[in-house]
């Protein structure tokens, strides 16, 4: 068993890439948040302090997780999923869930805002990894096996959409599909669900007013520069002013309240403005290399559960980063989504660092031979 195995050091590249990204992230949070912090709290360090505290907690979580054997999650998979699902239901209840910007996405516990969808993203990785690596569930036919996963994803999507939390829905469904794909599900199974799914999404976008507005705004944000297109237009101004080398660290103009909450979802635009195309390449490369290392860990993992977990965590971070950058650059219709390791916010940073910790733990057992 695992006990007999000698503990290897974790994948140092993953650890390094993560810390570089977080370091960059904290610098950017400080730079981007100063005007907002000054304006709101009369203290330019407000968000920096919060982010540093979150980093401390996250670092502890990451290191701890790197020592906790990943099989624990397999054992308590249903418990984790059940808990996350419960929070997802609870957040919808008025009085329990806190509304901010028209969405009921947070549960306030003391001074701490918990975002159940962040936990749920992890829970779905754990549950799918467990089920797909479970021999009993393996090689099931379409109706008895595959459709169960689709059912879980549909229920999750239904709950998340009710908040509403479109980006959370997209992430959870994408991660689910990535795991099903990596978990060797038959390709035609995936196709018969993905194709109608995408078609359904198109219909939703066409028939629901608020979705249609998003699409129309996305097509020409400048026509709605004072309304729904405002954030994207301001974001494009920021990125466009960056050029090759950027204006220099701390020299963003757009962070001066032109971009609302520049330290949150649109932090990448400030980064592009201050650090230019070079900075953009560095950050995207770091995310790509992190993803690559993570999937390499999955490939070299000792068993199927570990492989799926590693794939799921790597895909989660990459997909969320890619979706965020796509929104910030106006490449997809706008939706509220944070940039992993960068955007200010405690739950996100701690969760992502903890997940990296799990990835690091899995990397300790890499190259031990494949176990079903």
């Amino acid at each position: 068993m695992e006990k007999t195995r000698k503990k290897k050091p974790f994948n140092f590249l993953i650890f390094s890439f993560t810390l570089i990204l977080i370091a960059l992230g904290i610098v950017m949070v400080f730079s981007a948040s100063t005007p907002a912090a000054k304006n709101q709290f009369d203290n330019i360090y407000h968000y920096l302090h919060q982010q540093l505290i979150a980093f401390g907690v996250g670092l502890a979580a990451m290191l701890a997780a790197s020592y906790v054997n990943y099989n624990v999650y397999k054992k308590i998979a249903w418990f984790i999923f059940g808990g996350a699902l419960l929070l997802l239901v609870l957040v919808l209840i008025p009085g329990v869930g806190t509304v901010y910007n028209n969405a009921r996405r947070w549960i306030t516990i003391g001074a701490f805002d918990l975002q159940p969808s962040e936990i749920y993203k992890f829970a779905i990785i754990v549950l799918f990894s467990k089920l797909l690596s479970d021999e009993k569930m393996q090689n099931r036919k379409f109706w008895k096996g595959y459709i169960i996963y689709i059912g879980i994803l549909l229920i999750s999507a239904g709950l998340l959409i009710s908040e509403p939390h479109l980006s959370g829905t997209i992430i959870v469904v994408s991660i689910g599909m990535v795991l099903l794909f990596a978990g060797a599900t038959k390709i035609w199974h995936i196709l018969v669900t993905v194709v109608p799914g995408v078609a359904g999404l198109g219909l939703v976008a066409y028939y629901f007013e608020y979705m249609r507005i998003r699409v129309i705004t996305w097509m020409d944000p400048f026509a709605y520069a004072q309304g729904d297109g405002y954030q994207v237009v301001q974001s494009l101004y920021a990125i466009g002013s960056g050029g090759l080398l950027g204006k220099g660290a701390g020299k963003s103009m757009q962070k001066f309240l032109y971009i609302p909450e520049p330290q949150n979802d649109f932090i990448f635009a400030i980064l592009a403005e201050e650090l230019g195309f070079i900075g953009v390449i560095v950050v995207i490369s770091l995310f790509v290399m992190l993803m690559y290392q993570g999937i390499k860990v999955a490939k070299n993992s000792s068993d199927k559960f570990a492989g799926l977990m590693a794939t799921g965590i790597s895909a989660l971070i990459f997909i969320q980063a890619a979706l965020n950058i796509a929104v910030v650059t106006g490449s997809v219709p706008p939706t509220g989504i944070s940039l992993p390791f960068f955007s200010a916010g405690g739950t996100g940073l701690v969760m992502f660092m903890g997940e990296i910790g799990i990835l690091l733990n899995i990397s300790r057992y890499a190259g031990k031979g494949y176990k079903k």
Partner: protein, 730 residues
């Protein structure tokens, strides 16, 4: 073992399958990353220039310091247009929402502060936008109240920005001259438009970066280039004379049922300065787009293309410069000037006004029967058309039109006001064209051209460029620039000018211009009654100057389409010019001279109640007043217990005061007699003989009386009676 081997094989294929799929995932992710990098490359390098330019404008737009628009004053420093500090109230609905502020409460309190409907504000507050205007150009007082409320309650997302608004303290006064501005304080009309470059000033800049709310950024160097405030203007307009002219014109339009409005211009002939310029109908400068009478509120925006066009054609139209008409007989003054200048005829030469045939057209005098054989001077007094045709023929076409051009009728006067029209003459005139032109018909000119040309006759022969702006001042009131009178050319000699002044004075004292006569002031002028292409539409005008020996005012009055009892310029326009000249010269404190017998001196009725009859009579006599005693013949009560008119009433000398020896239960009354067609002397005698007093205006025969015949009046009442010369008044 086959089983083990089989299982091993399965494991390998499964692992390979998984690895293949992981590879596919990596490829997909790399593709996504490449697309995003490509997109950012496009934004930063291809789109970047435009985006950063727009971003720069946005980030620096808050740095402009708006200059204060210059004021406009009349020649005596009276404010005609001023900039008032106001505020714009705007909101950011997103900020309000993001700060979890209660839009309902904000709307309610804003509505209360601004005096708006709560619902109207709430509607804007709940929009999903960054910027909504709540109130534009609201009073600074209200703006300050909102500012305090925002500060005290830490309201996020409600902003109050400084702005200025144009205010015209005199509303309609000189509206067409002053003009108005648009929403961005840009001059749109009148002096506001033509002097825009002086008035608007140059915006200042803060070379500094600002955040979205316009606050300067930390650590940025600030260089401030102050705004160069607009220059103030001193116009040549005299607000008092403008008011006099407006009131006189307005009264004439009402009295004579003038259908298409009118205009009046008062100028200083020696400098060409415009002292007053009135055009009716007019508008309130503070509400230039107010609904026109006869239009429905729901069909009127004031800003639509159709509405703007309509306004431009009606109330905004400055008749003084943007209106052309046939001048009629007022033009004869120039023909007479040319004739005297060129010695083709002398004033004493005998001529006649019997019909004359020109190119098979018969031209007759306006009066039937004609005046017959007369001197040229008399012909001018009588405004006889055939005489002017003959004089024009003596001059010849070339010389005639040379002078028409020299008097400035072929070009714009160059007045600094928008929309100036230019007259129209025949390009290659024939004999008949000149013949009708000699008495002012079949060509059109603007009122301003007529005034300029009359200035020439009045000032010694010099055509002056009309002036409307006198001085330019900086925002501390220091003189920056002074505009000086400019002579365009000398048209006639000083001698001819002097002679013409005397001739035209005679027109007023003895000729067709008698109704412009004002005792004590020597007025020179010429009447005009223009026919138009439309049936029964006449344009009555009179242009004159005073004092004739040393003119300081030229006045033109035009009434388009009078529908009252007379349409003759001599009857309805001349007295308006007389009134404007009289009141203006009084205002300018020019003493009256001569004409003692015409001047009706005024006196104040003294208080004689309680006096003995003897004392009262003496008191009235020293005030040059007459008296009638009412009361029983018997009795020895010699005390005055009541008088009428009461003490303090201003009456003309020799008016009758009724003295009561008893307290009357009812005042003694009598009936108003019929005075129409009586002369001034007859009317005065008629009234005084029965115990009524006259207040007269004009001369000649009575055309109207304040009360109808038979109206019961208190004995001693003062009755207003108007007189006009009705014959020889073309």
């Amino acid at each position: 073992m086959p089983g083990k081997k089989g299982k091993k094989k399965k494991e390998i294929t499964e692992e390979a399958k998984r690895n293949r799929r992981l590879l596919i995932l990596i490829v997909i992710f790399l593709l996504i990353a490449s697309v995003l990098i490509g997109r950012i490359f496009y934004i930063q390098f291809i789109w970047g220039e435009d985006l950063s330019k727009e971003a720069y404008i946005q980030q620096n737009s808050g740095m402009i310091i708006s200059p204060v628009r210059g004021d406009i004053y009349d020649r005596n420093g009276r404010e005609l247009a001023v900039s008032v500090a106001v505020d714009n109230v705007t909101v950011s609905p997103r900020t309000i929402k993001n700060n979890s502020m209660d839009a309902g409460i904000i709307a309610k309190e804003l509505a209360q502060l601004l005096g708006f409907e709560t619902e109207a504000i709430l509607l804007k507050l709940v929009r999903d936008s960054e910027f909504e205007i709540i109130a534009k150009k609201t009073d600074r007082q209200i703006g300050d109240a909102v500012r305090n409320w925002v500060k005290e309650n830490n309201i996020e997302g409600v902003y109050v920005d400084e702005d200025t608004e144009r205010f015209y303290p005199n509303n309609n006064l000189a509206a067409h001259v002053i003009g108005f501005t648009g929403g961005d304080n840009q001059g749109l009309f009148g002096i506001e438009a033509t002097m825009e470059t002086y008035l608007k000033g140059i915006p200042g800049k803060v070379i500094n970066e600002v955040d979205k709310d316009g606050n300067a950024l930390p650590f940025s160097e600030t260089t401030e280039i102050a705004a160069d405030n607009g220059k103030s203007l001193v116009l040549t307009i005299d607000a008092n004379i403008q008011y006099i002219a407006e009131q006189a014109l307005l009264k004439a339009i009402e009295d004579n049922d003038v259908a298409r409005g009118g205009c009046a211009i008062v100028a200083d002939p020696t400098t060409g300065e415009i002292l007053a310029m009135v055009s009716k109908p007019d508008f309130n400068l503070n509400e230039p787009r107010a609904i026109l009478p006869g239009y429905k509120t729901d069909e009127w925006s004031g800003y639509s293309k159709a509405d703007t066009e309509l306004l431009s054609k009606t109330v905004w139209k400055n008749m003084a410069v943007s209106y052309t008409y046939e001048p009629g007989s007022t033009f004869k003054a120039f023909v007479a000037s040319m004739a005297l200048e060129n010695n083709v005829i002398k004033l004493t030469d005998i001529i006649d006004d019997y019909p004359i045939e020109v190119q098979e057209a018969e031209i007759k005098c306006w009066r039937t029967p004609p005046h017959g054989v007369e001197t040229f001077l008399e012909a001018i007094y009588n405004s006889c058309n055939p005489v002017f045709v003959k004089v024009a023929q003596m001059l010849g076409i070339t010389r005639f039109y040379e002078y028409v051009e020299m008097f400035g009728f072929m070009e714009k006067t160059g007045i600094n006001l928008p929309g100036e029209e230019v007259g129209f003459f025949h390009k290659e005139p024939m004999e008949i064209d000149m013949a009708v032109a000699s008495f002012g018909q079949r060509f059109i000119i603007t009122p301003m051209q007529i005034v300029s040309a009359y200035n020439t006759i009045a000032n010694g022969g010099y055509l002056m460029e009309p002036m409307i702006v006198k001085e330019v001042l900086d925002d501390n009131g220091n003189l920056v620039e002074r505009f000086l009178p400019e002579v365009v050319r000398q048209v006639i000699s000083e001698k001819t000018s002097k002679t013409m002044a005397e001739v035209l004075e005679g027109v007023v004292s003895e000729g067709t211009g008698k109704n412009a006569f004002v005792p004590g002031y020597r007025i020179a002028g010429k009447t005009g009654t223009s026919e138009t292409t439309e049936d029964d539409r006449y344009i009555a005008s009179f242009c004159g100057f005073a004092p004739a020996d040393n003119p300081i005012l030229t006045v033109l009055v035009i009434l388009d389409d009078p529908r009252g009892e007379s349409h003759f310029g001599g009857v309805i326009a001349a007295p308006v010019v007389g009134t404007i000249i009289e009141q203006s010269l009084e205002y300018l404190q020019l003493p009256r001279k001569g004409d003692e017998e015409y001047i009706e001196r005024e006196t104040v009725v003294p208080d004689v109640i309680g006096y003995s009859l003897e004392e009262a009579v003496n008191e009235l006599k020293t005030g040059k007043l007459e008296y009638i005693i009412e009361g029983s013949e018997t009795g020895d009560d010699l005390t005055v217990v009541y008088q009428y008119p009461l003490a303090g009433k201003i009456v003309v000398e020799k008016s009758v005061v009724v003295l009561y020896k008893y307290m009357p239960e009812e005042m003694v009354t009598l009936e108003m007699p019929y005075l129409i067609n009586k002369t001034l002397g007859e009317a005065k005698r008629t009234l005084n003989s029965i115990g009524l007093n006259i207040r007269s205006n004009g001369g000649g025969t009575c055309i109207s009386q304040e009360y109808y015949q038979g109206t019961v009046l208190k004995k001693g009442s003062v009755v207003e009676v108007s007189f006009r010369y009705l014959d020889n008044v073309d």
